[in-house]
């Protein structure tokens, strides 16, 4: 596969007067896993839907797997796996039937569809539930089945819109492992998430979106290096305290209940605050994360 799986140039999507995606440009390399981060309403799903060819773009250019989503939708979708933000499993069918029927939509023969269904049920650790109706599954199990279903056609690229929202930690880790396996096989991944750790775990490269625009782009490590310091010191003071970080020469971000201080040496900065007589009621030193990048860029937290 020589060409880039996704090329977007000045891509926009408007719903009436409201601009949901506002001229974004990005490219995804073959085999790369690419994440979109951003708060509610940033335009992640709108972008995903344009890439999955079910939402016509308002303006700009978009190429998916070498084709134009507006003209070659069916051909593009035959090589795509799609996990929508909200599950849309077929409630009238059992787990196994869901996978088999879906495989049929892709023109896979019944026999092969049966084999594929069993293999994917194993992959999603749902083999013991093969004959259960979908409605009997928990939210997390449904999510796993939805992801398994997106793989029936052995896609070149998988689009995952918040794949792990609502999953328990164990299921999330299982899913990360599975996505990692896909990546190893050379499958291109495009995912959205609200979880920083997820993006750091899975993404080679990511964009941070806010109000329909891309506000930053890069690898997780480079974004952290570029926009924040290596460590973050979180400190809490009583409400009536008057510590002025600015005059202390400390880059900071005041939040409702605590203040984040950006520093390359958290312990050192904390020690200095204490010797200066500004002992916090509580403190925590941690590595800087993408969450901090987002906060530094937009002044808002990602998950409100």
């Amino acid at each position: 596969m020589a060409s880039k799986p996704v090329i977007a140039k000045d891509l926009s999507k408007a719903f009436g007067d409201f601009v949901a995606v506002d001229g974004i440009s990005f490219e995804i390399e073959p085999g790369e896993s690419f994440a979109m981060l951003g708060p509610n309403g940033a335009g992640k799903s709108s972008t995903m839907r344009m890439v999955s060819t079910v939402s016509p773009r308002t303006s700009g250019e978009l190429q998916v797997l070498g084709g134009d989503p507006l003209a070659d939708g069916s051909a593009i979708r035959s090589r795509l796996g799609v996990v929508a933000q909200e599950d849309n499993l077929d409630a009238a069918l059992t787990l196994r039937e869901n996978l088999m029927v879906y495989a049929r939509y892709f023109g896979i023969g019944w026999k092969q569809a049966g084999r594929k269904a069993d293999e994917l049920l194993e992959f999603a650790r749902l083999a013991d539930r093969a004959k259960a109706p979908v409605m009997s599954l928990s939210g997390g199990m449904k999510r796993r089945l939805t992801i398994a279903r997106a793989l029936v056609n052995e896609p070149d690229m998988v689009l995952l819109d918040e794949p792990t929202t609502g999953l328990d930690p164990q299921a999330r880790h299982l899913l990360w492992e599975r996505l990692y396996q896909l990546k190893e096989r050379g499958v291109t991944l495009l995912l959205t998430t609200h979880y920083m750790d997820e993006a750091e775990q899975l993404a080679d490269r990511l964009v941070i979106m806010d109000q329909g625009q891309i506000v930053a782009e890069g690898s997780p490590a480079s974004l952290i290096a570029q926009h924040v310091t290596r460590e973050v010191l979180e400190v809490r003071y009583p409400a009536d305290s008057t510590v002025d970080f600015q005059t202390l020469g400390l880059r900071n971000e005041p939040l409702a209940d605590r203040t984040l201080v950006y520093t390359d040496d958290g312990e050192g900065t904390l020690a200095k605050l204490i010797t200066d007589g500004h002992t916090p009621t509580s403190s925590l030193v941690r590595r800087a994360s993408l969450e901090d990048v987002f906060l530094a860029l937009t002044g808002r937290t990602l998950v409100e």
């Binding site: 939402s55 069916s74 051909a75 929508a84 409630a91």
Partner: protein, 256 residues
């Protein structure tokens, strides 16, 4: 086979798989026209007596049975293209999932229409068997009844789904049936056109079911004349136009 035929068939397959476990629902609806025929033909028939059909004196059962074929084709199609269609469109997002595969809106719609037509046709054919057994079929023309019934099913599949694309919730179906029920009663299934006052006859003749009923009755009685072309033309045109409109509506609803 081309994609335009092959891909809708996969939607039909999906429906076959989904009904495999609930086939009782499918089959039980088969008995509805038979009960109607018994109740109306035998019960009401005794009160009504024989009536004149294009010069022949026929029993009420002979009159009403062809009408029931058309209505069962209609009901079979309507059920799938209203409640089930709504479930797949809004509640379960089944169509949304299908559209993430190579299927496009037209494939999904054609598949659903074909399935509804097959279902309606199945009821019609089984009911025709009952009619034959009771000596209610009078002509070789009746061999064309299944085709006519399929056309009736297809037309109501298109019309039913068109109405459904406007439903905002389950309650809205009450309105939909408030429209379809009078159509059912006004269709000459139960009374000949001549029974209606003159001013109402054009209204009856404008309704979709009338054309199915009249065509099938002519086929069953062997009284086919040039009006058959008009009936077929009406149903084909109504189907084509409605299907086009549904296709557009679905695009608006699903491809935002």
């Amino acid at each position: 086979m081309s994609a335009a035929v092959l891909l809708p068939l996969r939607v039909v397959e999906r429906n076959i798989v989904s009904y495999r476990r609930t086939w009782v629902i499918l089959v039980s609806a088969m008995f509805e026209p038979i009960f109607f025929l018994y109740g109306l033909g035998v019960g009401l028939g005794r009160l009504v007596g024989d009536l004149d059909w294009q010069g022949d004196m026929i029993t009420y059962a002979q009159f009403v049975a062809p009408g029931l074929i058309a209505t069962s084709a209609m009901n079979g199609a309507i059920f799938d293209m209203t409640f089930n269609f709504y479930f797949k469109l809004k509640e379960n997002r089944t169509f949304e999932a299908m559209l993430a595969s190579p299927l496009s809106i037209a494939h999904v719609l054609d598949g659903e229409m074909a399935w509804a037509m097959i279902r309606g046709g199945f009821y019609s054919v089984t009911f025709m068997g009952v009619m034959y057994a009771f000596g209610l079929i009078a002509s070789w023309w009746a061999l064309l009844i299944p085709l006519a019934a399929l056309l009736v099913g297809l037309m109501f599949a298109a019309l039913g789904s068109f109405g459904t694309t406007f439903a905002r919730n389950w309650q809205d179906f009450d309105i939909l049936f408030l429209i379809t029920q009078p159509l059912f009663l006004l269709s000459t299934t139960f009374f000949a056109l001549e029974v209606y006052p003159t001013w109402l006859r054009p209204v009856v003749q404008a309704t979709p079911l009338y054309h199915g009923v009249d065509l099938i009755r002519d086929l069953a009685r062997g009284t086919v004349d040039s009006s058959a072309f008009g009936h077929v033309a009406y149903m084909v045109i109504a189907t084509v136009i409605a299907r086009r409109l549904v296709n557009k509506r679905l695009g608006k609803l699903l491809l935002q």
